[in-house]
Symmetry: none
């Protein structure tokens, strides 16, 4: 029976809300109105907030960055470098992969080396979004 | 110039998160794993949480209940009675109106008699969802 | 840290393919060209086959039946009875819940009383689809 | 209570129709069959017209240009320059951001320095679309 079921380690709802809260605090400290999304290991939305003044587009972008990061287990911002080195992928990945965001602001959430979800932030430039996402991710790394 | 701009009173992000938190507490007290969504006066998602164990479908349903309630300024649960009395609407509204959920669990959020957003809850039967939504809505009514 | 991660018991890929194989065998024995889908506990597609001659629509229906069953943890065929007893739900669920299929052919896949996925079959009448789905589900129940 | 509700300054319906009318006049003067859309501050469609002979695609493009401009608070035509200077964004923004149109024809509508909506025009080349959009935007700037 052991091979019938596998256990998917996934961020709990409570932890997802802590990640969200930490990212909100970082966005407020940076005075950067942002949308912030946390998805579980299976890509399903777990927690979300949109701060007053965030761009309308930020809600979708934050969710898709979180999905991009959780699904591949990589920061969304790493994709640009990968695509630079692989012309067919560079041509086709952005259009061929649903909900793919290949710039910063999406980070996998990991516990003990295993991806358990993802966080996505959209508000300012992607470099700043990345820092807010890191503040969110740190909330569960610190808890371990 | 006064007629160029109108002010749309909308729930603030901070208040949306308080509504969410109150609804989470009610769902936990009722031991009902639920998804909970808060949208602003324009229907845009403002805050969201999915509790562990909620049905996969609950995430979409909660958002659409909130949208249904905020958009029409009516509890989603009132629509069944309206549809009963209007055969053409009964035939066409559920399929003809995008994101329309005509059963309980969605409530408009009002301040001083004005709709400023909506909350949607999906987890158990819609009658229980409605009670959790009411607990969320009470969080800003109490604040006034 | 225990509250940071939760384990989601989910059907393994190998077991999903055994379920699929058993359902294919049942569909072939019944001479019923069918599409068969197995999703994991989070609703993501795990295994799929479309037999020659199956209706074009069957591919989508099989996936959505599996999703309906896994998401709610109920056979899709039970919904008709539920809807009979709940007029608001009867009006709104079929159109208001994305990917909702309230007739037979979708079954949750359970191990030790826990839902770990879902199977959906579409090919003939839903009553026959249900029997093929049961043959699939039996493949992992037998293994326990 | 002040933090429960925020006021979103948004273009009134009457003003949106004046913007539309001015853009229609400009499109007719330029003999450029166009679709013209005005959205409010939350991205919802407020006024729209498609002139006889406009391309079928123009209806969608005009709406998405207006949304792009209102959501980010920037002329859609400015994005090309931004993307030139930011390779990751250049790769991912056009495909990763829903309804994103990074060429001319979309303008934010501002009153007293605040974005209250957006106008999008699609008919001819984007440079001409931009001029028609400017004629529309001028209708409310003049009113102030």
């Amino acid at each position: 029976m052991t091979d019938v079921v596998r256990q998917i380690p996934s961020i709990s709802g409570a932890a997802a809300r802590r990640v969200l809260q930490a990212a909100i605090a970082a966005a407020e400290a940076a005075e950067q109105p942002s949308a912030i999304a946390v998805v579980d290991a299976s890509g399903n939305l777990s927690a979300f907030a949109r701060l007053d003044g965030a761009a309308l587009q930020a809600a979708q972008l934050a969710q898709d960055k979180a999905y991009t990061a959780a699904g591949f287990g990589l920061p969304s911002g790493q994709w640009h470098e990968f695509l630079q080195q692989d012309a067919p992928l560079a041509t086709g990945a952005p259009t061929g992969i649903d909900r793919f965001v290949p710039f910063g602001g999406g980070l996998p959430l990991s516990v003990a080396g295993q991806v358990v979800g993802g966080i996505g932030v959209s508000g300012g430039h992607w470099s700043g979004d990345d820092q807010i996402a890191q503040a969110g991710a740190a909330a569960i790394e610190a808890a371990q």
